[in-house]
């Protein structure tokens, strides 16, 4: 079954205040998390632990302060200066506070997010707890894994769910625990987890048996193009779990949710009758355009997402960023996302990145980096070229393939695919 996200009446009451929150192995609740005394407002709270981020969020929810929360490493000195000049006090992990350079009245209840920066420097997008709370209605009791970097849209999605809904526990995974998260998740009975395709791919690559030991009932993917291969691999490991993928961003919120186990979304979702409770999806040229009720402040109306789509039968696939997805090979154009999907469909491939490489005569050629699936024996670049040759036009076949030892992953759990 598939469904677009609809915007029902939302509640941001702290119904989940007594939900379990596991941080650094300790079982607490939202209510018993440590408190951050005298947090200024507006404040940019830079954290180095998930516990501090949750404490800042709860403070914001209780007191209605203006808050930006992010990991310390995501906010460089230049951005700290900019934040100070925009009226934010900077709060460092050790509690040190740098007062704002600009004195201004706080925007009560405003929550600021930083975009992932995939299109350049991170941008600040204004939300509220209400606009960030997109999961509503009765939810089955669940314990959620929280592997996301604090302050990202995906992080807000999981934490607002836990704070505003009953029986939605959280198990926080710190960056240092990312490699062993399945063991921690199994220990604390995690039943739901949301992560990027790269995150899931790494878990399968590192230890599929350890992953299979996690009692997952809900698996969610988002933040990167979701290909059929990773959906199929997860289905094989978790035959009974609901597997969903979400298209969401700081700008347009959670706009597409697909539960049918297939990559892409139905073409019939495009250009539907306007409904103020539901995002409107259209395509202009190759670009996905969304009008969303979950949008950030000042982003009313059609938002050009910068994401490229391609039709595949009755599905609409989101293949990647417009500015990097299309590779022009001697006048013939191919989507890096489509090539990547083909590579990922090879059983011997655990991860792939496809990109353009400058080349004589044709201008650009398709090249790839690949992490092989070690459990299935060695593969060669010739194997992959042959695999792609039967599935792609000549100009789309990656001609230079480099093998990597492990799957690269950034703090955002993405891998620059």
């Amino acid at each position: 079954m598939t469904a677009a996200v609809t915007s029902r009446r939302r509640t941001t009451a702290l119904i989940g205040d007594d939900n379990t929150v596991v941080v650094a192995g300790k079982r607490l609740t939202w209510r018993t998390l440590h408190k951050l005394p005298q947090l200024p407002s507006p404040a940019a709270v830079l954290v180095d632990s998930g516990a501090d981020a949750l404490a800042a969020l709860r403070h914001h929810a209780v007191h209605g302060t203006e808050l930006l929360v992010a990991t310390e490493s995501r906010v460089d000195m230049r951005m700290r200066e900019e934040l100070g000049e925009s009226g934010f006090a900077i709060v460092l992990p050790n509690g040190e506070v740098t007062p704002a350079k600009l004195k201004r009245v706080e925007e009560s209840g405003r929550a600021w997010l930083l975009t992932s920066g995939s299109t350049g420097r991170p941008k600040r997008i204004g939300h509220t707890l209400e606009s960030l709370t997109t999961v509503t209605g009765d939810q089955p009791p669940r314990t959620w894994l929280l592997p996301y970097s604090p302050g990202t849209y995906a992080w807000w999605q999981v934490v607002t769910l836990s704070l505003t809904q009953a029986d939605q526990g959280l198990v926080v995974i710190e960056p240092s625990e990312l490699e062993e998260w399945p063991a921690i998740a199994a220990e604390h009975g995690v039943t739901a987890a949301s992560g990027t395709p790269t995150f899931w791919r790494q878990a399968i690559y590192r230890d599929a048996d350890a992953l299979a030991a996690v009692p997952l009932e809900q698996i969610t993917l988002g933040g990167e193009p979701v290909d059929q291969a990773i959906l199929d691999q997860l289905r094989e490991i978790f035959p009974k779990a609901r597997i969903s993928w979400i298209y969401a961003s700081s700008e347009v919120g959670a706009s597409i949710v697909v539960h049918d186990g297939k990559a892409g979304f139905p073409k019939s979702w495009l250009d539907r009758e306007p409904d103020p409770e539901r995002p409107m999806l259209t395509v202009q040229g190759d670009e996905l355009v969304i009008r969303s009720p979950h949008h950030g402040a000042g982003l009313v109306g059609a938002v050009h997402t910068g994401d490229r789509i391609e039709y595949d039968g009755d599905r609409v696939l989101i293949t990647g960023r417009l500015d990097t997805d299309e590779i022009n090979v001697g006048g013939s154009k191919v989507s890096a996302g489509v090539v990547r999907n083909v590579l990922m469909g090879h059983p011997g491939v655990s991860w792939a990145r496809v990109f353009a490489r400058k080349a004589p005569l044709v201008g650009r050629m398709v090249a790839a980096e690949v992490v092989p699936n070690r459990s299935l024996g060695p593969i060669t670049d010739a194997d992959l070229v042959q695999w792609c040759s039967t599935r792609l036009p000549d100009y789309g076949v990656p001609r230079r393939i480099k093998f990597l030892d492990e799957i690269p992953q950034k703090e955002t759990l993405k891998s620059d695919v």
Partner: protein, 102 residues
């Protein structure tokens, strides 16, 4: 669609290769064979073999250039003035050699 290997490619006096190490002609030929093999074809031993007849196309030439660049650890400069006819296996090898030795 990508065209077959054009008969003419840029030639002349490329700049900036004075300090670059080079890939020997024999090694370039080996790489050319690897490119052909990956495409399910084979490279004849005869340097006079016609590129059109053996199916060595512009994409193959481009791939060969990238392989040479990877081995050199540097980019080849194809932006030099002048034209040279590339019709045979030997022409390809001469051209790559010329780019490296100029």
């Amino acid at each position: 669609m990508v065209k077959r290997l054009t008969a003419w490619v840029v030639d002349g006096d490329p700049l900036g290769f004075g300090t670059m190490s080079s890939v020997a002609r024999g090694r370039v030929r080996e790489m050319m064979g690897e490119v052909m093999t990956a495409q399910g074809r084979s490279l004849p031993t005869d340097d006079t073999a016609d590129l059109r007849e053996i199916g060595f196309r512009s994409l193959d030439f481009s791939e060969l250039a990238l392989r040479v660049e990877d081995e050199l650890g540097d980019e080849l400069n194809f932006d030099a003035p002048g034209l040279r006819r590339i019709a045979t296996v030997g022409d390809v090898l001469d051209f790559i050699e010329h780019l490296q030795s100029a």
